[in-house]
């Protein structure tokens, strides 16, 4: 596998993939129902609500109730999908998720929209940067973080048809490169090798996977072969892919549009330190909030670009024994 096999077919927001996948899953399975917390169109659920008005439940700006209602629907055999901005769906309702969903181990799909600083002008309150950390510590929870719109479409369908128990699926707002092929499929819990290499491994998730691929192209020009691994499932993490990367590459860079603390970087280092310790450099938010601004400018400001990944790769290589 090589990054050269991927082409950006045009920028597209991952939320569009979420909406398309939900519609498709809804057509295939009558048990799928969706819940609206006022921002239905903004999170891509309007496609489903227009197609299946009888299976759409509007509950208003009351996220805690939305989560409890989802639990009740699941107890009666429905497959509820509740999407709103990740700051609300993962964080405002954390106790409902913990007790009503996770402790009861109910198959509910939680959509976390507006992930990362690339949300842009709305600013810090609406940029989900702590959701992975909080969701991945919940027993029974699966955490998905697809890398582009095409993969997000497949991720919703997999969340509904393949996963068991509660699933948190995070996606973004800004139009970003859409580059994966639908033929790649989606196997929850399985890391994807996007570029072969054994000098250093870049383990990325969400929008940062594309940035990681750009960094790998630049590194190649310098004669460095970086392995690029896309992690669309943060929990359960594909531990064997991570351990193999540590063993074969000897240095790792993680990249995520999320706090490094508790996120993919933490998840990877938990596995690496316990199995095959190698130097790790972390790309992500460093214990700070985001702010308002154009999405790509914000990615630059907070060090979430291919250039930053490139620099971290050099830093990791220098620490390699």
């Amino acid at each position: 596998m090589s990054v050269m096999q991927f082409k950006n077919r045009g920028n597209k927001p991952t939320k569009a993939g979420f909406g398309e996948g939900l519609l498709e899953a809804g057509k295939a399975n009558k048990k799928v129902v969706a819940i609206g917390a006022d921002i239905t169109a903004s999170v891509g659920v309007d496609l489903f609500s227009s197609a299946f008005p009888g299976r759409f439940i509007s509950l208003g700006i009351a996220e805690q109730n939305c989560m409890g209602v989802s639990a009740g629907l699941a107890l009666m055999g429905k497959i509820p999908v509740f999407a709103t901005y990740g700051v609300f769906s993962a964080l405002r309702t954390t106790d409902q998720i913990r007790v009503s969903l996770c402790y009861n181990n109910l198959h509910v799909i939680i959509g976390g929209a507006h992930a990362g600083v690339s949300v842009g002008p709305d600013g810090a309150t609406h940029q989900a940067l702590e959701d992975i950390a909080v969701m991945r510590v919940m027993p029974n929870m699966t955490v998905l973080s697809p890398c582009d719109a095409t993969q997000t479409r497949l991720a919703v369908i997999a969340a509904i048809e393949q996963c068991k128990g509660p699933v948190y699926l995070r996606f973004g707002r800004e139009a970003m490169p859409d580059f994966t092929s639908p033929d790649m499929g989606f196997e929850a819990g399985k890391a994807q090798l996007f570029h072969e290499g054994s000098d250093v491994a870049i383990i990325a998730t969400g929008h940062m996977t594309w940035e990681a691929m750009q960094a790998a192209i630049e590194l190649q020009k310098e004669g460095i072969n970086a392995r690029v691994i896309n992690i669309h499932t943060i929990k359960p993490l594909d531990e064997s892919a991570v351990i193999t990367a540590a063993r074969e590459c000897g240095a790792i860079v993680t990249a995520e549009e999320h706090q490094v603390a508790g996120g993919l970087g933490s998840a990877v280092s938990e596995v690496v330190s316990g199995n095959y310790p190698v130097p790790i450099e972390f790309i992500g938010m460093k214990d700070s909030f985001g702010e308002s601004g154009p999405p790509l400018e914000l990615m630059k400001k907070f060090g979430l670009t291919s250039e930053n990944i490139l620099k971290s790769c050099f830093a990791a290589l220098q620490r390699k024994i």
């Binding site: 129902v33 009888g54 299976r55 439940i57 509950l59 208003g60 009351a62 805690q64 109730n65 989560m67 409890g68 209602v69 989802s70 639990a71 009740g72 629907l73 699941a74 107890l75 009666m76 055999g77 429905k78 509820p80 106790d95 409902q96 913990r98 007790v99 009503s100 402790y103 009861n104 181990n105």
Partner: protein
């Protein structure tokens, strides 16, 4: 097939007395747990399980059953005692309350496999939302089940309860009944001093619920309230059941200090002999 319900007040009183005794025995054995609210809710649960709900202890997953959602998870002792009295599991198991490896968790946990338990709960203010979701699902599929949710009065201080209240009325859930154990007390004392709930009836009416009040220790009053629920075809119903914390044991009645306390073995003997009179 539903199990046969009890007709007649003496039969219900006898069940309630047996349930109260089980509560005292299981709490004395566990050494911790919530006696006060268990005793105030005992007659409500007796009415539901022996006079109101369609259910089958021999077939706990019967799809046609009415559902009982315990939102106020800490009164698990009286809920377990009621389930055992109805025949969901042997009464001897009540002595395993709160013990390691027990199906009778301190707050109900479904993963331990207790028959008749619909929902793991214990964090206050969540059960009504779950019941709303269940009632909506049943409505979507034109199922005739009814959904009964029990909340404590102090629990109504949780804002999420009112989110659920709005949703139930908005979605016209006439298959949903909320029962409030209005014993007037919470851990810090009188509800009206801790965080006032009154005028409670007006609040529920304003939220669009068919609002009923009853004496939560009088079976005639309870049954009559339940019979009035669902009559208005487009609204959910709430029954504010006026109760007394610790009901049935005179020395602890109305004493908020018994909210989260278990009796010693000596106290338990005393309480049980009082309940036998």
């Amino acid at each position: 097939m539903a199990f046969s319900l009890i007709n007649g007040i003496p039969g219900l009183s006898q069940k309630a007395r047996a349930i109260r005794k089980s509560v005292v025995m299981s709490l004395a054995e566990s050494g911790s747990g919530h006696l006060g609210g268990s005793m105030s809710s005992a007659d409500i649960l007796t009415t539901l399980y022996f006079s109101v709900m369609q259910h089958d202890p021999c077939n706990p997953s019967w799809p046609g059953r009415d559902r009982f959602i315990l939102s106020i998870g800490h009164i698990a002792p009286v809920f377990y005692a009621t389930l055992a009295e109805a025949g969901y599991f042997p009464k001897e198991e009540l002595l395993n309350l709160r013990k390691l490896g027990s199906r009778l968790q301190g707050h109900p946990g479904r993963d331990h496999g207790l028959p008749g338990l619909e929902l793991s709960a214990g964090s206050l203010g969540q059960g009504l939302s779950v019941a709303v979701g269940m009632a909506i699902a049943a409505g979507m599929d034109n199922m005739g089940n009814r959904f009964y949710c029990l909340c404590g009065d102090g629990e109504l201080q949780e804002g999420s309860v009112w989110e659920a209240a709005m949703a139930a009325a908005h979605h016209n859930l006439n298959n949903l009944v909320l029962i409030i154990d209005r014993n007037g007390l919470q851990i810090d004392g009188n509800t009206e001093k801790v965080m006032a709930l009154e005028p409670l009836k007006k609040k529920w009416e304003a939220f669009g619920w068919d609002t009923l009040e009853c004496d939560g220790h009088d079976f005639r009053s309870l049954i009559s309230a339940f019979q009035k629920t669902g009559i208005e075809q487009s609204r959910p119903s709430v029954i504010i059941a006026k109760t007394v914390m610790g009901k049935g044991i005179r020395s602890i009645e109305g004493d908020y200090r018994w909210h989260g306390k278990a009796p010693t073995k000596e106290q338990a003997e005393e309480f049980i002999s009082e309940l036998e009179i």
